[in-house]
Symmetry: C2
Subunit: 356 residues, 2 copies
Amino acid sequence: MEDEQEKVVIHGLVCPRPLTHYETVLLGHGSGGKMTRDLIEGTFYPPFENPALMRGDDAAVVAQPEPGRLAISTDSHIVSPLFFPGGDIGHLAVCGTVNDLAMVGARPLWITASFILEEGLPLVILEHVTASMKEAAGEAGVDIIAGDTKVAERGKADGMFISTTGVGWVPSDRAVSGANAQPGDVVLLSGPIGDHGIAVLAARGELAFETALESDIAPLNDLVEKMFDSCSSIHVLRDPTRGGLATALNEIACQSGVAIQLDEEKIPVRPSVAAACELLGFDPLYVANEGKLVAMVPAEDAETILQAMRSAPYGEEACRIGEVEAEPSGKVLMRTAIGGTRVVDMLSGEMLPRIC
Amino acid sequence: MEDEQEKVVIHGLVCPRPLTHYETVLLGHGSGGKMTRDLIEGTFYPPFENPALMRGDDAAVVAQPEPGRLAISTDSHIVSPLFFPGGDIGHLAVCGTVNDLAMVGARPLWITASFILEEGLPLVILEHVTASMKEAAGEAGVDIIAGDTKVAERGKADGMFISTTGVGWVPSDRAVSGANAQPGDVVLLSGPIGDHGIAVLAARGELAFETALESDIAPLNDLVEKMFDSCSSIHVLRDPTRGGLATALNEIACQSGVAIQLDEEKIPVRPSVAAACELLGFDPLYVANEGKLVAMVPAEDAETILQAMRSAPYGEEACRIGEVEAEPSGKVLMRTAIGGTRVVDMLSGEMLPRIC
């Protein structure tokens, strides 16, 4: 029978026993020499296997997609802990970049992944994370074609940071931008808000109660394709990550020079998220999501697009939450449940560091 | 008269006086809210100014280059200290990625930059680094079109890490890969080796003597274009960064299944680098470079390509250092100055952590 007392939890992952020196990341893994090659061939090539990556040159070379435009997006991921209910930093890195591409109407094609590892990180953690990246990339239909690994001395980084960049192809009939919202547009939201932020807080032990809540991390490119299949007139797409729905809508209101009017009662929030926010003094409008999108679409197409969203696995709970108006330009307003109207500002300061 | 005693050196940069809280990076700069927007608009947009970046969407959208292939490469940069003789992490991040693209024969077009900042980092450091990135990008002729900023709590990162990804276009008449070396090829090197590694060591105060040596950091895409202008038959290009020339040549010998025979006397090393290596017990063959390339080319074209290299600013000291042979496959051999032959292996372990 395994000794329960031997178990150790490292960066949120339960390891069955304390690890030896040679089961962890060493400075030599970042040397560029033999140990780096062993790490690449042993840990990165098997899950990410594809010809462009495994050619082993300084850059991956791929055939260009059909004529059209390219979309390029990058993100660093420093979430703490690395593992949390519903996912880990690997899912986050791939889905975050896939979603940023999808939010300009692009079909994600290729991802690069650059790892900054802290000396002493258990190699088993790296293996779990690369398995998650493989899983997320497989679901999104993208290849991880280039990478890099650096190792910082113990205490100079926090376990693992991952920077991902994505390249996608934008079909020529799509014109999606945060600058394209029009007065009269309907605002659609793909599901309940705040799950990711609260799930990570729970993993940090910062909630006073147990919750079964999981992060909503998901690749949204399939949902976006279903939306475009139903109607190509989508004006704006955005995933409300850091800063939450309130910040994403404020960005769009500024970029487009419009007002966004929300109905408080229509914004879905799970009871467990609402309870956690109540307890912690947070507003779910500012809590991060990693598998939701907000869209601005012409009123006449809104119902068609909403039905298309509801037919996709990550859009089943999609709903209308408001509309776009001309004035006051750059503002987000909310009709409250008791009948008033309040201004919803961008996030000020930092509520939840290292949520993504 | 300014008080000399007030000066502080932070991450290798001399600041004229101690800094206040509001002159440093705060957690709120990574929130995704107002402070992040202020940082983007105040610190990143002015140096990097271009339409794709400043549109402010989740991904940059750009027109595809002419038909052909795309090259994509990524790197994280964790050099310590951030500033060193001849450059800083900003030059390193841009040049490193530009060079990786050039090493597959690509013309670099776009760069993304993702910053992981430590809470408390002086904002003036970030401004110096973005100015360096602008300078390097300008010289290389690339635009920085997308970015991201995350902030880790004090003590959870070391000042600043930058991950860059580059996308370039490969003209259809180029077929460059580490797998393409052929027996009979001549090995060319663009200049003296080891400058970068020793310059960073000097900045760390690890040399017992003063040296005027500077890092060789440079974008090599113009040099590569001049080489291709002279002759399109180049088989292999590689920049010997981490792990040095010895490791780069071992990688190529393995990828191509060939032997590489070097002449020790022909490998250029500056006297100051040789002296530092002697003192520290290092072999310059394993010391990192950031502005050098090694090429394998057909013997009949070698002189033409060598003359083209010497006509470029970063190739003036280019020379022949050896040749490619069929056997022993996967090995790098060196004829020593005293007439023997020794095997030159890949780097084992880690000699100089955080050199790039």
